[in-house]
Amino acid sequence: MDSFSGILMEAIELILSWDSDVIEIIMLSLRVTLCAVLLACVIGLPLGAIVGAFRFPMRTGVVVVMNTLMGLPPVVVGLLVYLMLSASGPMGVLGLLYTPTAMIIAQTILVTPIVAALTRQVIEDLNLEYSEQFASLGVRPIERIFALLWDARYSLLTVALAGFGRAVAEVGAVIIVGGNINHVTRVMTTTIALETSKGNLQLALALGLILLLIAVVVNILLMAIRGTAARAAYV
């Protein structure tokens, strides 16, 4: 078995060599994941906020469904998206199968429930705190949603990071709908799976370390934004 220091060295070498193929794969990983998380936030934040801030019939049922969908198995989502986008599926004419767009669609489906369900909890708690003020000021429902989302923005950043973590580490769905095509739909996780299947375990682990590093960088960047924004808010 290869030593961990050897694997670490290989990872460092891979980064330092600035191999254009590796860079391409990293960039595609980021593009697919960030697009999916953005889309998931666009859908999931308002959805979660609405369910969190208002009472309506069947609300508990909606919450249960949202929480359950957080555990969607990636392979199942991959298969469903494949069946939709396949040439013999209902959306086959779009020709999206085996493209990064297909991967973004699959990951958006995986991440949206996470964003929506966690947002629901955050907003529900905050709404309890604010409800008397809202009532006394006669705030309209739409303004209420925006006020809650805005005031919860730092907690929601963590929600988005949870979604990012799920998307960036996911392989089961993207390998089915993307096909792991070299220079087209090959991302970090599918490359790791491929190198493992080639028996290049050291290279696979080195790539895994790089993936982890990317996640760290993204987290640091977001925390920095949060820190700057928080300071600005108190000036």
Partner: protein, 274 residues
Amino acid sequence: MFRRNFIALATAGLFALGVAGPAAAQDDFIIVQSTTSTQNSGLFDYMLPMFQKETGIEVRVVAVGTGQAIKNAANGDGDVLFVHAKASEEQFVADGDGVERSDVMYNDFVIVGPPSDPAGVAGMSDVAAAMVKISDAGAAFASRGDDSGTHKAELRLWKDAGVDVAAASGGWYRETGSGMGGTLNTGTGMDAYIMTDRATWISFGNKGDYQIAVEGDAKMFNQYGIILVNPEKHSNVKAEQGQKFIDWVLSEAGQAVIADYKIDGQQLFFPNAK
């Protein structure tokens, strides 16, 4: 301020869609549904750039097990099918999913095993006899178990040898349900015998102290075929470019490229187009 925030989010969403768009726009490419052995051995990385240089057509390979590749192609999700399970390929054509099947190249299957050789089959060339010995010894054998070309060939050989592996499944006969590489990783980890195509084995990076135990039986011949997915059944199939690729693979030039591909001085595939 709330409004501004919302607009920013919406813009970000549109931006995301915009970024996602361009990759689908490029038109001069075909999708080839193929198998892990051709991909993992590096053959495609070697030959496809040459084809693209000559014709300007980009070939996008989806490498899965033969069973899945055939199903994907039957759904119309690919222009060309390039796999290794002759009976299934002929069925694919007979079902009207493919236009015509042509032989491309061959290599052979081998059985690899641990140096301790618990069944005493090292050096054998009679695969049926070797399989009977493995079964009699109850020595661990890792099977793909994934309906791939290799899996189908392996099941055929067990049947020829008169061994009922279904009864032994979970005992000494272990179905990993993964690709060739995954099965090799798992099998070598539990000192099991594994049947693999020679190309994957030569290029495999995690051999440990494993060696080829059984090889050289004519029954372990592994033929690869190529088929154009039927454009009459699936209107999205790029018949012209797909046919161009098939013609090139079967041409003298394409066949020479296949013969030229070597790892550590060993030729991995032997062209035999008619």
